[in-house]
Structure formats: structure tokens, C-alpha cells
């Protein structure tokens, strides 16, 4: 199957950008993934908007090993855990561009897991290049550039659907990040560099465009690749996500599932 026929498997829906709490953003990811898996929603693209700063931990990370909890508390930075693996991110509302793709698993049929990571971010690489940013995909899950790492993707698979979400740095507050995260030397061991701030290349360092214009450009690129239509969240989906916050994403049991 060609890449283009995968992208045009069926029409896509673009959700409007709505500010949401960190927990709500994560709950929506799980809810919408399951809806797509159940055939109740077409493949969907959602760009995130954040109401608060937070640390988003990967599914398999330990709070203790990744977060300086007291510093996070003092700064009012919430700690949340997503359903996908990968690394911790420190998010400030205007500092990141995050999007989620929710697709039926059949769309990635015949691809290895690793291939599907690169595939689902391929349109972003094209979009960044057309903005004059020399970006490329660095397996397994990084979007990187001549100016440093821009972002990373993570996937979860649930009930016949794939959640592929990616966060790109727009503007980074490195001092705050170093205060709230623990970034060990082992993590940097194969990068040939000694500090976290030298390996990142946030978009703002590579283009003068405001954050929203980059998002608009990404959406235009996606719309040229796919049959993309505007849609909305249903009331049932909102209610479903609220339940997931109460039962999982807002609870300490989930946050500290790996303490």
C-alpha cells in the first residue's frame, strides 16, 4: 500500500482547538482513541491547547526518577501521566505545539511499529521544511533539525486504534525545566553532549512565525495530504473524558502507578 493511499484510507476530521486542563487533554486522547477503534469516529486530528503548565510523564516512567516534586509544587506545575510510553515533557501553555492523531489500526497494516512512528509524523517534516526549517525524522520517535531536537512522538494502541501524539517545542524555558525535571547524565550518554539545553532546537529559534501560524501551516499541509473536514467533540465524548479524569487521569493511583 502506498503512503498516499494510507493517508486517504477514509476522510479525516479536524477538531477545533479548545483550551483544556492537562488531565482533560490526556483523557480526551484515550476517549477518542477508543471511539475510533469502535468505529464511532473517523480518523481524527486534534491540536492541543493547555490551561496550565504541567509535566507529562510517559506511561512507564517513575515520578521519583523524573520529577523534582517539591520544585514542581512550588511552581504550580501539575504532574500528569499519559497512556503512551516515552519521556517526560515540561509543558508551558504557549511553549509547545502538541497534536494527536487517532486512527484505525488498519491504517498502519504491514508497517512495523517503528515505521509507523515515522509515517505518522512525515507530513510534519514536510510542513517544517516548507517553512525553511531543515527538519528530519530521527528514529525511533524524534523530530530533529540542524538546530537541535524539535520534538518527539509517542504511540499507544487500544481496542483496534492507534493514538499517535507528538509534542514540539516552540519556545523553551530551560531554567524552569531544569528545576522541575531530573535529567540524568545516562540519558545524554549517547548524544555526545553534556547538557540538556544544547541538544534542543525549539521552533522559535528557527523561525519568526508565531505559534498559531505554525499550527495553521501544519493543518494546511495535513489538509493537502488527506480529505480533511471540520468536526466537533460530541457530548458523549466529553462526558466520557470527564469520567476518565475521575477514574484515572486525575487520580494519584494513576499518577504514582510507578512511584
Amino acid at each position: 500500500m502506498s503512503d498516499l493511499s494510507r493517508w486517504r484510507w477514509e476522510p479525516w476530521v479536524l477538531l477545533p482547538i479548545e483550551p483544556a486542563t492537562p488531565a482533560m487533554n490526556l483523557a480526551l486522547d484515550e476517549e477518542l482513541t477508543l471511539r475510533v477503534g469502535a468505529g464511532e469516529r473517523p480518523p481524527t486530528l486534534r491540536f492541543w491547547s493547555w490551561t496550565a503548565s504541567c509535566i507529562v510523564l510517559g506511561r512507564f516512567q517513575s515520578v521519583r526518577n523524573e520529577v523534582q516534586e517539591e520544585n514542581a509544587r512550588e511552581r504550580g506545575v501539575e504532574i500528569v501521566r499519559r497512556i503512551s510510553g516515552g519521556g517526560a515533557m515540561f509543558i508551558e501553555p504557549e511553549g509547545a505545539i502538541t497534536y494527536s492523531l487517532y486512527v484505525p489500526a488498519e491504517m498502519a497494516v504491514g508497517m512495523s511499529f517503528a515505521e509507523s512512528y515515522a509515517f505518522f509524523d512525515s507530513w510534519v517534516i514536510s510542513a517544517l521544511r516548507s517553512l525553511g526549517i531543515d527538519a528530519w525524522y530521527a528514529p525511533l520517535n524524534d523530530i530533529t533539525s540542524a538546530g537541535g531536537k524539535i520534538g518527539g512522538a509517542a504511540q499507544a494502541r487500544r481496542g483496534g486504534a492507534i493514538l499517535h501524539h507528538t509534542t514540539m517545542a516552540y519556545q523553551m524555558n530551560i531554567p524552569a525545566m531544569m528545576e522541575v525535571l531530573r535529567i540524568g547524565q545516562e540519558k545524554l550518554s549517547d548524544k555526545g553532549i553534556r547538557s540538556a539545553d544544547k541538544r534542543v532546537g525549539p521552533l522559535r529559534q528557527q523561525t519568526d512565525l508565531p505559534r498559531q501560524e505554525i499550527i495553521d501551516h501544519l493543518i494546511a499541509e495535513f489538509g493537502a495530504l488527506t480529505d480533511l473536514r471540520s468536526g466537533t467533540l460530541t457530548d458523549e465524548e466529553r462526558a466520557g473524558a470527564e469520567i476518565r479524569i475521575r477514574e484515572r487521569f486525575g487520580t494519584d493511583a494513576w499518577r504514582y502507578i510507578l512511584p
Binding site: 506511561r59 516512567q61 503512551s84 525511533l140 499507544a156 540524568g184 545516562e186 549517547d190 512511584p259
Partner: protein, 98 residues
């Protein structure tokens, strides 16, 4: 006790445990790897729990690999990477107490 190993070009695996009578207890395996399905982590952790500290690297790798069911995908890390993180934790503890 804590050890970590980053697979070159891959992800970090970390292990925390207590050593009681030369046996690994209260084992936690964490990291920024990807694992499908997620529940596979329980079996991987259980394969390390209760293992003797003097187990060889090869035996450790084999016993972790045996806990990974067919069809499980562990991206960015491996049984060998986890065994290495454990060895590092044990070595660090020797250095502390010598």
C-alpha cells in the same frame, strides 16, 4: 539501589530495588521506552523480582527474555539493556559499601 542504561540510539531503562540477603526485592522497572501491550511490564518486573544478586549477566538476560510473551513489542530497550542496568546498580552498591 538504582541503575540505568540507555540503549545507543534507543531509550533509557531504569531499575530500582532493595537488596535483602543478596536477593533483589521491591523491583521497579521504569524508563522512557515503549512497550506494547503495556501490561507486559508486570511480567518483566516479576522476572527480576526475587532473583539472586550473583546471577550472571547472560542468565539474567535469558530470564528476562523468557518473561516476554510472543507478540510483545519492546521498543528502544531490551532484556540485555535491563540486565545491564541491574548490573550497574549492583556494581554501584559494591562501590558504596567497600
Amino acid at each position: 539501589m538504582h541503575g540505568a542504561f540507555k540503549t545507543p540510539g534507543g531509550k533509557l531503562v531504569q531499575v530500582d530495588f532493595d537488596l535483602e540477603d543478596e536477593i533483589l526485592r521491591n523491583v521497579e522497572v521504569t524508563g522512557d521506552f515503549f512497550l506494547y501491550p503495556e501490561e507486559a511490564l508486570t511480567k518483566i518486573t516479576a522476572a527480576v523480582e526475587g532473583s539472586p544478586a550473583d546471577m550472571s549477566m547472560a542468565d539474567r538476560t535469558t530470564s528476562i527474555a523468557a518473561a516476554i510473551d510472543p507478540g510483545v513489542e519492546w521498543l528502544g530497550s531490551s532484556p540485555e539493556a535491563l540486565a545491564t542496568a541491574i548490573e550497574r546498580a549492583l556494581l554501584a552498591s559494591l562501590e558504596t559499601y567497600e
